[in-house]
């Protein structure tokens, strides 16, 4: 089943990236690289995994998704629009004066945004609370929390990590967008975030590492959650900041910059080439 729609998923990823570029070019907002780096994770979740219904966005038994790295909200909005939660036109109001969607997501500002985030290190604790309530109520939905690697420098992340394993929350899934950059340098130049997997394992989580841009791998990994009964699952997704546009990829300045109108055309073209390359790779 997956093989059949794989090309389609790749195309969805490309379309989403293109729209993100357009939003950032139009709004002149930062965090473009952070948004591009999580697109494939979001596509795998929203188009393959999450039990959600755009026609009934507040359904009690829906899976919950928390974007703990709230600064990448542009990606979330575009994905939600693509998935039918919002009108495409609403995206044009991104960060506009009087608009509905801000740079960091606000709970229920639009359907599908579950939690307000923007300050790092908050999402996982709220995810623990949601997952714990689900256990108390014998509900079977899952709670997914997407964090950044730099976010793991926040102490509150580890407070949440301890409590998730203590409550045996195998309905809670952490995902780390490991793009190896944080706001002002490479993560490994600031704090020692190496051995991330062993750190999470030491805190009682069951961990898998995955190519965060391989939709097939991501989907397969998400399908076998929980990795262990009685343990929270952690997916460490190896990603490239700014993925999809070689001119933006793995460059710190794109945490801040946004494309100028002449650059935008070029970047969209680069995206298309990257997409064609992926299809070609897949076919051979």
């Amino acid at each position: 089943m997956f093989e059949e729609n794989y090309i389609e998923l790749l195309n969805i990823s490309r379309e989403i990236r293109e729209k993100i570029l357009v939003l950032h070019a139009k709004s002149n907002e930062s965090h473009l690289g952070s948004s591009l780096s999580i697109v494939d994770i979001l596509v795998a979740l929203y188009f393959q995994i999450l039990n959600i219904d755009p026609l009934n966005p507040y359904e009690e038994d829906r899976d919950r998704f928390i974007l703990s790295k709230g600064h990448a909200a542009s990606a979330l909005y575009v994905v939600l629009a693509k998935r039918g939660f919002l009108e495409e036109e609403l995206l044009d109001s991104f960060s506009e004066n009087g608009g509905k969607i801000s740079v960091h997501p606000e709970r229920f500002s639009v359907p599908g945004v579950e939690v307000s985030t923007g300050s790092l290190g908050h999402g996982l604790s709220m995810g623990v609370g949601i997952a714990l309530s689900a256990k108390k109520d014998s509900k079977s939905f899952k709670t997914y929390v997407l964090m950044s690697d730099g976010e793991c420098e926040e102490g509150s992340v580890w407070e949440a990590a301890i409590s998730a394993s203590r409550f045996k929350l195998d309905n809670l899934i952490g995902i780390i967008d490991k793009n190896k950059w944080q706001a002002y340098d490479r993560t490994d130049k600031i704090q020692n975030l190496s051995l991330l997997k062993s750190k999470w394992e030491a805190f009682g989580w069951s961990c898998r590492e995955v190519d965060g841009h391989n939709l097939q791998e991501l989907t397969q990994i998400f399908r076998i959650i929980p990795f262990e009964i009685g343990k929270p699952s952690m997916v460490i997704a190896d990603t490239i900041k700014g993925k999809g546009v070689p001119e933006i990829e793995d460059r710190m300045e794109w945490h801040y910059k946004s494309p100028k109108s002449d650059e935008l055309k070029k970047f969209i073209e680069s995206l298309r080439k990257d997409y064609e390359k992926s299809i070609y790779k897949k076919a051979n």
Binding site: E106, R107, E114, V115, S116, T117, G118, S119, G121, H122, L124, S125, M126, G127, V128, G129, I130, A131, L132, S133, A134, K136, D137, G155, S156, E159, A160, I162, S163, R166
Partner: protein, 310 residues
Amino acid sequence: MRRAFIRKLTDLVLKNRNIYLLTGDLGFSVFDEFKEKFPDNYINMGVSEANMIGVAAGMAMNSKIVFVYSIIPFITFRCLEQIRNDLCLQNLPVKIIGVGEGLSYGTSGPTHHAIEDIGVMSSLPNLVVISPGDPIEVEKIIEQSLELNSPCYIRLGKSGEQNINSPEVNLEIGKGNVIKKGKDIAILSTGNMLSIAVEVSNALEEEGIDSMVVSLHTIKPLDEDLLRDISTYIKYIFILEEHITSCGLGGRIAFFYSKENIKVDLTFIGLPDDFVTLVGNQEFLRKTYELDVKSIKSKIMLKIKNVGLR
């Protein structure tokens, strides 16, 4: 006040098993019975207040009624951004219970004192801030807190506070509780200063001064109607709090009257803008900072003499 809190919470949980008590590893002897009785409704979250607030927010998103409990500085300052973003911004009706208001933990020193928390917590939009005056007010407020649609912060004393109100008192969050009517001066008190306010009022009566006493348990939102009403017949208002006055009840009342351009004469009786580093218990520290009955009475008498009220 701690006992009154857990007594009321026990009653409420008996009727509603959707209520949860989360503690930051505190409550020795106070919660023993509760945790025996309701193991599913009691969670010791460990010494991690930031996570406790976030977890409470997540639970509230799933319609759980959550009380979080710890000593005031730990449950307010330590996790302030979690309170701001997770609870207040998302307007989730979690109940934050802080214990040890003012100088209740006197000898424990300034890390444990709670003399700036009203200022900090009152600055947060959506948060209801309450400092009950006696154990009876605690019970009534805890019960009513279930009806709130926004988060609240309820600061409690520790133990040994005497009852001032009768158990039948009619009390409402957001409305000042008039303990005693009077026409010469008004004594507005918040939190555990209530018993002192009443004693001061009685002492003033012996001097022929008729004083009104109000327990302003709800600091935010202030009972503006009552404040407006008092100002129509009383000019001299004395505000009592075991808290830094500039950012406490005094500061908020001064702002209200100033905003409304109402001319009143306010005297702020509380703590200066400083840490209390002197070693001593609550009683000793109150005497030192002139927050005891005798000192407050003299201060009021002096004021009255100076302005020529008598």
